[in-house]
């Protein structure tokens, strides 16, 4: 895990969705710089954690601090403007808008910076090809590239990315891994990724937090978890050689 004060911290966060008590006291710190993986079984509360950070569901108890500000009760747009970019599980692509328009919308401060756009085209060449087309015609992998490109079209302090490899072909996952590696090298942005694909998580993560039943049950260095098969089995119910 990177050194320094946490950029994001969740303390005793509880979130209810209707009658369901999903997050049951989440304590999580994401330090500045590097990539933190948030792992856990289906239904552990990973997506709810990201949505709570983004203010899409408000915490019923506990607090969320980002960059020294208490953002627990902030509205989603204000949280985004504080410097958090969010890629949801369903990618949130505007299918009726073109690739260009999707990126234009994400560039809040004005016209898209040309150098930044070239850098993104270097990461995701397909986006240049499909630039004038509506995003609805893109494949699943290309939509994921667009959703990530939309998040990084302008510098942000923190990326929240929910299951970027979900439903994608191995070749596309390789492309996404390469892009994230480049992203880590090219920027000082902090990244928090929710993931179920352990190989993906292992190849990119610096730090890891594991959730179960709405709580964080393990935090530490990704390398430690990757090296400890018993721990993987206990926390995630998997053996690496059985997993994708």
């Amino acid at each position: 895990m990177s050194d320094g004060a946490p950029l994001l911290s969740l303390t005793g966060v509880n979130t209810h969705i209707g009658p369901y008590h999903i997050l049951q006291g989440v304590d999580l710190e994401v330090r500045r710089g590097g990539l933190t993986m948030l792992l856990g079984r289906n239904g552990a509360g990973k997506t709810t954690t990201l949505r709570t950070i983004m203010g899409m569901w408000h915490a019923s108890a506990g607090n969320v601090r980002f960059d020294d500000a208490d953002i627990t009760a902030w509205a989603t747009p204000d949280i985004a403007r504080a410097g958090i970019a969010y890629v949801p599980e369903n990618m949130g692509i505007f299918a009726d808008l073109t690739v260009r328009e999707n990126l234009l919308l994400a560039a809040r401060s004005g016209p898209i910076d040309d150098a930044r756009l070239r850098w993104i085209f270097g990461l995701f060449p397909a986006l240049e090809k499909f630039w004038p087309l509506t995003a609805g015609v893109l494949s699943g992998g290309q939509k994921q590239m667009l959703s990530i490109a939309r998040a990084i079209i302008e510098p942000r302090k923190l990326f929240l990315i929910d299951e970027p490899t979900k439903g994608l072909a191995p070749a596309i996952i390789g492309n996404i891994i390469a892009a994230f590696s480049e992203l880590k090298k090219s920027t000082d942005t902090t990244i928090l990724v929710v993931e179920q694909n352990f190989l993906f998580a292992k190849s990119l993560g610096d730090a890891v937090a594991v959730m179960d039943n709405g709580r964080i049950v393990h935090t530490g260095a990704m390398a430690e978890l990757a090296a400890d098969r018993d721990l993987q089995h206990r926390l995630l119910g998997l053996h690496l050689d059985q997993h994708q």
């Binding site: 808008l97 240049e128 499909f130 087309l133 015609v137």
Partner: protein, 335 residues
């Protein structure tokens, strides 16, 4: 990355089938009607009426699509716009009675401006006081907006009385232009022109401006627009005000079209507007435009060919469209 020689971009989806509906309907009606001049008159009257319905429904479809708000109070703004105009009529009667197209147009523009101003301001208050507390509660939305509609209607009756008020057309807009056997009422041409200007302006704003980009994205996925850092509720207030002002404009145009105002006129037009919104697809301005033309032209043809069917023709049309495309002609939202 440069495109390879064999690389082929997937074709941009161009769904033209709905665009053909109005021309096909018109062509199909021609042999049934028999007389070419009658067919032209009915068709042009339908197009003019369709433009006015489009003006009233366009704001409704964006409000519907953007925030899932079922605003049954929309009809109130149609009535209020028309009645706001009639208050101003004595002040511009000189211009309306002048034998000058420019003066008449000036009077019409003044009436439209005051109607849009009044309905825009009332729309803002309506959204803040009546609609905002019931976001995300469809049943309550129906109840409070229908309540707002009833209150507005009763206020109009209290102020202006329950009887019909005549709204005479400006001098130059009366009568018809005759082309051979075909007579075209002048005001219908004005209505078509105003409708086209509004449609073009909406397309321009929606497709060529950042505001339009936000509205289109918001209709499709409002939550994601918020996650990108935009306050969609502020955007929605603007759209609601614009939609209310357009309803006011539609009220003035409809009042002149009928040359009379009644306290129930808003409710009558709103029923058509709702049918148009459903036919066009929630949130789609293009679908709304085609839907409005279809509804109006169908009503005119049905009224001529089978008057007993005229009342039900719009419901029948809506049922047929929904059987063909269950989410309307050009659905924008995923709902």
């Amino acid at each position: 990355m440069s495109a390879g020689k064999t690389f082929k971009l997937p074709a941009r989806r161009r769904d033209i089938a709905p665009l053909l509906l109005v021309p096909l309907l018109a062509l199909a009606a021609l042999p049934l009607i028999g007389s070419f001049s009658t067919w032209v008159t009915l068709t042009l009257a339908g197009v003019a009426m369709g433009m006015i319905i489009f003006i009233t429904a366009s704001g409704l479809t964006l409000v519907f699509g953007l925030m899932d708000v079922l605003n049954f109070g929309h009809g109130a703004f149609i009535s209020i716009g028309a009645y706001a105009a009639i208050v101003l009529v004595p002040l511009v009667s000189g211009l309306m009675q002048a034998d000058s197209i420019a003066a008449n147009l000036g009077a019409l523009m003044a009436l439209i401006a005051i109607a849009m101003l009044v309905t825009g301001v009332l729309g803002y208050a309506f959204e803040r006081i009546i609609v905002m507390p019931v976001y995300g509660q469809p049943l309550k939305q129906i109840l409070v907006t229908v309540g707002g509609m009833i209150v507005a209607e009763q206020l109009i009756i209290a102020i202006f009385g329950p009887v019909q008020i005549v709204l005479p057309l400006p001098t130059a807009f009366r009568g018809s232009l005759v082309f051979g056997d075909v007579a075209v009422e002048r005001y219908r041409l004005i209505a078509v022109a105003v409708g086209l200007v509004i449609f073009a302006a909406m397309l321009l704003v929606l497709n060529r401006t950042r505001l339009g980009l936000l509205i289109r994205a918001g209709v499709e996925n409002g939550e994601m627009v918020e996650a990108l850092g935009y306050h969609i509720r502020r955007l929605f207030v603007g759209v609601f005000v614009a939609g209310s002002a357009l309803a006011g404009l539609g009220g003035v145009m409809w009042g002149f079209y009928r040359e009379a105002l009644t306290p129930r006129m808003g409710m009558d037009v709103m029923v058509l507007a709702f049918i148009v919104v459903v036919i066009g697809g929630l949130g789609s301005v293009g679908g709304c435009f085609i839907g409005a033309l279809l509804v109006a032209v169908t009503a005119n043809y049905a009224g001529f060919l089978a008057p007993k069917l005229a009342l039900g023709s719009n419901i029948l049309l809506m049922a047929l469209i929904l059987l063909w495309r269950s989410r309307g002609l050009y659905p924008v939202t995923r709902r």
